[in-house]
């Protein structure tokens, strides 16, 4: 059976690439600290020696549109082109080209459907920064095949938070039962409190530091009970109008397991939003 070599959850900040690669005058004052934290975070994936990456993210109105919007979608393609003109324009992100693992995609689709998740699929998916940002931070060589899984945290009506958790649990179970000798890292990115296109955007820190503090604690300790008790589709508007991306963190809590503390926890309070990085090593607890 396959091995879940690492479970990783993080924010995906599209400004990291430009901040980390800029030099001299254009380099923001927080860049060095940010790069140091990312270097340490990257090591948590490297040491897990993964062969394939399951990448959970969310399309930001690039390929998926309101005339045909899936709630949960699995990419099944041999290759994925990545990043878009407007991400190059706004964030300076490079175009990327990634290999897929169709066998694992097909397996997750078939078994996921049979487990009660009516997953959509795509045979030609262009990936956006929700998946490429964690590659840039965690695996900048982008040399491993991926299986992208997209969630709708963006275009209401959205699935309930508990469905994200349930999908995470199923992904974990299915990967562990996959008849393969490969080492699989399951990586997902979301947000803590975040406001985009609203009056609280781009403040000196995230729009709701108290939510961020609680959220980091829930994730770090695997406290799904508290997260599910306090988080609802309605409540997520309060910390910031883009905070539904937190449900991708909840999905990753489902992958990591209830009450399983993360082996690695770090965060960085930036202007605009708090960065947070978590890694679990399921092998160590077996």
């Amino acid at each position: 059976m396959a091995t879940v070599a690492a479970v990783i959850a993080s924010t995906h900040h599209p400004f990291y690439y430009r901040a980390s690669t800029s030099t001299s005058a254009g380099r923001p004052p927080f860049a060095d600290e940010w790069v140091a934290k990312i270097d340490a975070f990257r090591e948590t994936l490297t040491r897990a020696r993964p062969d394939v990456l399951v990448m959970v993210g969310s399309d930001h109105f690039h390929q998926l549109w309101l005339d045909n919007m899936p709630q949960f979608l699995v990419g099944k393609a041999p290759f994925y082109d990545a990043n878009y003109y407007n991400e190059e324009r706004e964030f300076g992100l490079p175009r990327m080209f990634l290999r897929g693992n169709e066998e694992l995609s097909a397996y997750l689709l078939r078994e996921g459907l049979d487990a009660g998740f009516d997953l959509a699929f795509s045979n030609e998916l262009r990936i956006d920064h929700s998946v490429t940002c964690p590659l840039i931070t965690l695996r900048p060589e982008a040399d491993l095949p991926i299986v992208p899984i997209y969630t709708n945290i963006f275009a209401p009506p959205l699935p309930q938070p508990r469905r994200f958790v349930e999908l995470g649990k199923i992904i974990r179970q299915l990967v562990e039962a996959w008849p393969s000798e490969l080492r699989v890292a399951i990586i997902g990115t979301g947000h803590l409190s975040l406001e985009l296109g609203g009056p609280r955007q781009f403040g000196p820190h995230g729009p709701d530091p108290e939510f961020d503090r609680k959220a980091v604690e829930w994730i770090a300790s695997g406290d799904l009970k508290s997260a599910l008790a306090e988080v609802s589709l309605d409540s997520l508007w309060l910390p910031g109008n883009a905070t539904h991306g937190f449900m991708d963190f909840m999905l990753m809590m489902g992958v990591a397991g209830e009450n399983v503390a993360a082996d690695y926890v770090d965060s960085l309070d930036l202007f605009h939003t708090m960065e947070a990085y978590f890694t679990w090593y399921p092998e160590a607890s077996r």
Binding site: F61, W65, A155, P199, Q201
Partner: protein
């Protein structure tokens, strides 16, 4: 109310570099042209298989034609689509990093929770 169509305008302009410039330079003309020629095009269908029923309300048309992003927020246009396109058009006019984004927040500062519904 046609929030979907407002979003479709923002979405289709944002992904096309020429349209971004055209909308910046001539908002009224771009909105009129787009509503006449593009509003009913279904994005993954041949243009002959278009819809026949999509139009802006006068309020939506006016908000788009005047680059009135606080009004678009009030009307429930998707916050991410509006922000992304308006950054593309106007960030260049500000000297300070995030100058436009902070001005954008300031111009929306009269909105309190709950914000207008963005469901479509």
């Amino acid at each position: 109310m046609s929030k979907y169509l407002v979003n479709k305008f923002l979405f289709t302009v944002d992904r096309d570099p020429e349209l971004v410039e055209r909308y910046r330079a001539d908002p009224g003309g771009t909105v009129d042209w787009w509503e006449a020629e593009r509003a009913n095009v279904i994005l993954n269908l041949p243009t002959g298989e278009r819809s026949t029923w999509l139009t802006f309300t006068e309020e939506e048309r006016q908000a788009l034609a005047t680059h009135d992003y606080p009004k678009l927020f009030e009307l429930g246009a998707h916050n991410f689509l509006t922000l992304t396109l308006f950054i593309a058009m106007f960030e260049r006019d500000y000297d300070e990093p995030l100058g436009f984004q902070l001005e954008y927040a300031r111009r929306l500062s009269h909105f309190a929770l709950p914000y207008p519904d963005i469901s479509t």
